[in-house]
């Protein structure tokens, strides 16, 4: 708000003037505080006239004040409705802010209003209101787009109906059931992964460290991760470990997935990953780890913490790994990328895609394409020697890559 920026200066100017004004006003009768509009209007008129007489800058003066009378006379609502209720007061405040051009929503529900009132500080209120404002704007834009699309579609349909009157006889090999076919194929692949796939664990034990907003983000990212995994040629067998029944995570999953929750092709368990797998084959992925991941190992179990950390609490996942005495690794972002801005913590879906890509190709350049472009300025030059070394490694891997069944040993142990 540029309006208030200069306030600090203004006060120094006002004071000397006020000193002049005080003797002039003091000898008048002290007014009752709750002055009605009329009284207030009359009283305010007196100094105004005084002012105009004294200054009398331009002949337009009287004309200039004209708008005030209309403004005052056109009373919209009864002033007597003095709202003692904080809920309505808040609602009115938000409305006035909107008139002022601040970023607040136009419509606000009772529930949201309650959340606004529960915000402890002024800045948190403003932040929440801005969030609602942006949300409302997005919704409106989407609505408009939808309407436009519907209109265009209707128009196109009319045209098609007009033009394609003749020759409906054509030969097709397939019916148009692509989506369903794809779903079924992905389902088959998913079942295969459940039996023979390499485990990828999401550790859900971070719900205590997150606020509801972060929890929501985490669940969205997990949903996306699961989607990417499902579409892959060779999906992971995803585990959600430490997922307590009726925890916020669990409830949110059921809300987001709906009826599908029980038909999903991954393992959700209350058990910990250390109970399911041998400890020495677990690698906990965390950006705080001192060890850098060099290659993707097909016989290891990678664990990703499902944790969106907006509060900057470093070292929590590393502490978790330390507590259970697990190996840790971080992605070699600095080795391959010219890092620019942003944290090294990537979103869960980015990690999943990087891991999937590594699993299929083993190439870091290819895999790190999923790191957001804004975070780095480009790939680092890798010397010829290391390039060759990497190629050799890749070749040897393809020769004696693990037969799929070998991963099943963990299952048998259980």
């Amino acid at each position: 708000m540029p309006v208030f920026l200069k306030m600090g200066i203004s006060i120094t100017f006002i004071r000397p003037f006020a000193r002049v004004l005080v003797p002039f006003t003091l000898n008048r009768k002290r007014r009752v505080l709750h002055s009605t509009i009329l009284q207030g209007y009359m009283s305010s008129k007196i100094p105004a006239m005084y002012y105009s007489k004294k200054e009398s800058t331009s002949p337009e003066q009287l004309q200039l004040d004209g708008w005030k009378i209309t403004m005052k006379s056109s009373v919209q609502e009864g002033v007597s409705a003095d709202s003692e209720d904080p809920v309505t007061a808040t609602r009115e405040l938000i409305e006035m802010w909107r008139l002022l051009g601040r970023e607040v929503p136009e419509h606000i529900s009772e529930e949201e209003l309650k959340t606004v009132m529960e915000c402890v500080s002024k800045s948190s209120k403003k932040k929440y209101l801005k969030y609602l404002y942006v949300k409302e704007k997005m919704k409106k834009a989407k609505q408009i787009k939808k309407e436009m699309k519907a209109a265009a579609k209707a128009k196109a349909k009319d045209q098609v109906l007009e033009t394609t009157q003749e020759d409906k006889q054509q030969n097709f090999l397939f019916l148009r059931l692509w989506d369903r076919q794809m779903d079924i194929a992905m389902g088959w692949k998913g079942v295969q992964a459940m039996q023979f796939g390499q485990p990828l664990v999401f550790d859900m034990a971070y719900d205590d460290y997150m606020k509801s907003k972060e929890l929501q983000n985490t669940v969205s990212q997990l949903l996306e991760s699961e989607g990417w995994n499902r579409r892959d040629v060779d999906p992971f067998h995803i585990y959600f470990c430490n997922l307590k029944i009726d925890s916020p995570f669990h409830r949110m999953f059921i809300k987001r997935y709906g009826k599908k929750w029980n038909k999903l092709l991954f393992t959700a368990t209350e058990k910990s990953h250390v109970d399911l797998f041998p400890k020495d084959s677990i690698i906990y992925l965390t950006a705080d780890s001192p060890n850098v991941m060099t290659t993707f190992k097909h016989d290891k179990i990678y664990i990703v913490g499902s944790f969106v950390d907006k509060n900057m609490q470093p070292g929590i996942s590393l502490a978790k790994a330390k507590r259970l005495n697990l190996a840790t690794e971080c992605l070699p972002l600095d080795k391959y990328l010219q890092w620019d801005i942003g944290t090294k913590n990537l979103t869960l879906d980015q990690i999943t895609r990087i891991l999937l890509c590594l699993k299929n190709t083993g190439s870091w350049e290819e895999a790190l394409k999923f790191v957001p472009k804004r975070k780095h300025t480009g790939y680092l030059e890798i010397s010829q020697h290391s390039q060759e070394f990497a190629n050799r490694e890749k070749k040897s891997k393809t020769v004696n890559s693990f037969p799929k069944g070998s991963l099943n040993i963990y299952k048998q142990k259980r």
Binding site: Y50, D65, L100
Partner: protein, 584 residues
């Protein structure tokens, strides 16, 4: 000539701020040189902004300021040692450090705007219509032009003619945000009658006001005889949210202006009750007003304010310090005498020779801090975050079975101080120099330091281990918390050496009071190495022996204050003092 210059550059507040420094300096003649060329106004602004943005110029300006400051110091015959290396926590030291390794960051020039010459006289409707046609921009014209008027503080009449024009176009309706911006101009130009009018309009049209409008109204009303209505506005604001400290400031100033002391104090109490930190202006107003009041109760309340400053480690500004001085000197019958001074290194006030309070903590405070460091900084709810339980017990046993140390050294911080020298060499130098003075030294480090490598030679590390006790933490553990605990455990005489300001550890402490305690302890126990070349004997920065805080002995007051021209970081303390004592 100069007047012209000032009006053309008003929109660059930075230059305004710097202007006092420039007086008579080389920069001055430079500016006027440009003015002699008859550029258009826009070009001049460009040149000005370029000039202010260039790093050399700002540096020159700040150098001038620094020079002025040290000259002043020299005049009073104070210690000159600190001029080369200001104390780690002395006000302005961070700024100075940052200038030692300059990273010139070019300030982006303000984007070119489409410039409409703002009217200087009230316009009629046709003229406004024409102006609107000339305007090409995304924003709403009325809104944009009144914002520009605010920026250049146009006269109220011009704004009023704009509003009149808007009203005629719009069936006599002026939107709320135009009204608020107009109100801003009225308040800025102290047009009280206009403020009343806008207030009536707002009361008539809107059921309630929002915080921005209320703030302006409060500010506009307090100088008039209707100042009590400002208090009602404040009450209205309280329904939805806590008013800001500025609102309270305005109301208190208004109450004092109208001689209503009780309301002012009540508002002040309310302000404290909301856990807000009052503006220095508010406190200054109480002192300024106190000059005319001869009342014990009032005086006691002013002393309470000083104690509030003490308890919250707040420092008055320069003008506030002057107000305090004037008030003390105006107290009848007590004959206070005040002077602005500095404190000697020994902790004696140059003005009266009294010793300033010691920096050392009381035994209770010390125990409290030790407990808090252990529970919040090292443990922090999860021992695995900074260390491991095994390591923690190993460390605690180690500290327990060693006799108290004199010096605890952050091995990695010290060793990395001189990037050109070998790490183990530097560490050995420092340790052997300390050991020669018969000090019991503890070196804290990480395990990788004892793995022989090019940077950490085995023989040198062995020598270090012979001359000092060593504790090596895991490579992924943090060593600073151990440093803090070992120092605290050894007792009050023990010092620690690191250049780290330990701000992240201070931030782990739960509340402001503990953080202040930590800071006080840190000031009293942290040694920083200041010698720059590794070959020479290593010298340490002196530890302050006195605490920089508002303090009294009954018949004297010592009040540190911030100089107006000096920027102080939150972890630095002022160096200038106001010394007040009673003539006997």
């Amino acid at each position: 000539m100069m007047m012209f210059c000032f009006t053309s550059i008003r929109s660059f507040p930075k230059l305004w701020k710097n202007n006092p420094y420039l007086g008579g300096g080389p920069g001055h003649s430079y500016n006027s040189l440009f003015l002699k060329d008859y550029y258009g106004i826009r070009n001049q602004q460009k040149l000005f902004s370029l000039k202010t943005a260039s790093p050399q110029n700002t540096k020159a300006v700040s150098l001038l300021a620094a020079k002025a400051r040290y000259r002043r110091k020299g005049d009073e015959g104070s210690n000159k040692v600190s001029s080369e290396f200001p104390h780690l926590f002395a006000a302005g030291a961070a700024k100075k450090r940052s200038q030692m390794n300059p990273q010139s960051k070019d300030h982006a020039l303000p984007p070119e705007r489409n410039i409409i010459q703002l009217p200087t006289k009230p316009l009629n409707s046709e003229q406004w219509d024409k102006l609107k046609e000339d305007f090409k921009g995304k924003a709403d014209f009325e809104n944009w032009i009144i914002s520009q008027m605010i920026r250049q503080s146009s006269s109220v009449d011009v704004a009023k003619s704009l509003l009149a024009w808007v009203a005629t176009k719009n069936n006599g309706i002026v939107s709320y945000n135009l009204l608020v911006k107009y109100l801003y101009l009225c308040v800025f130009h102290k047009q009280t009658s206009e403020v009343f009018d806008v207030y009536e309009i707002m009361k008539a049209r809107y059921k309630s006001l929002e915080s921005g409008g209320s703030t302006l109204l409060i500010r506009g009303l307090i100088h008039s005889d209707r100042w009590r209505e400002a208090l009602l506005l404040l009450e209205d604001m309280k329904k939805v949210m806590t008013p800001s400290i500025k609102n309270y400031n305005d109301c208190i100033q208004g109450a004092l202006l109208h001689q209503d002391v009780n309301i002012a104090w009540n508002l002040y109490q309310e302000l404290l009750g909301h856990n807000l930190i009052p503006m220095m202006e508010t406190l200054k107003a109480f002192f300024d007003f106190g000059k005319d009041i001869k009342d014990d109760q009032y005086s006691n309340k002013l002393l309470d304010i000083l104690l509030y400053l003490r308890n919250n480690k707040l420092y008055p500004g320069e003008s506030f310090a002057h107000s305090i001085k004037t008030w003390f000197e105006s107290v009848p019958g007590e004959q206070w005498k005040g002077q602005f001074t500095t404190i000697q290194k020994s902790g004696q006030c140059l003005g009266c020779g009294k010793t300033i309070e010691s920096i050392h903590l009381s035994p209770e405070e010390y125990e409290f801090l030790k407990r808090k460091i252990m529970s919040d900084v090292i443990d922090g709810g999860d021992q695995y975050k900074k260390t491991t339980p095994q390591e923690l017990t190993r460390f605690q046993n180690f500290v327990k079975y060693c006799p108290p140390f004199d010096i605890v050294l952050d091995g990695l911080n010290v060793a990395k101080m001189f990037p050109k020298a070998r790490e183990s060499q530097v560490l050995l130098d420092v340790v052997s120099q300390l050991a020669k003075q018969n000090l019991r030294v503890l070196v804290l480090g990480r395990k990788h330091m004892i793995m022989p490598s090019a940077r950490w030679r085995k023989d040198e590390m062995e020598k270090v281990q012979k001359q000092a006790s060593c504790f090596f933490a895991d490579n992924i553990s943090e060593d600073d918390p151990f440093l803090l605990y070992a120092t605290l455990h050894s007792g009050n005489h023990c010092k620690f050496i690191t250049k780290d300001l330990l701000r992240d550890h201070k931030a782990c402490l739960p509340d402001a009071k503990t953080q202040r305690l930590f800071f006080k302890w840190q000031q009293g126990h942290q040694l920083a190495i200041i010698s720059r070349c590794p070959g020479s004997k290593i010298t340490f920065q002196d530890i302050l022996s006195y605490d920089t805080v508002v303090q009294t002995t009954g018949d004297s007051w010592h009040i540190p204050y911030d100089e107006d021209l000096l920027e102080r970081c939150s972890y630095e303390v002022p160096t200038r003092w106001l010394c007040l004592h009673q003539k006997t």
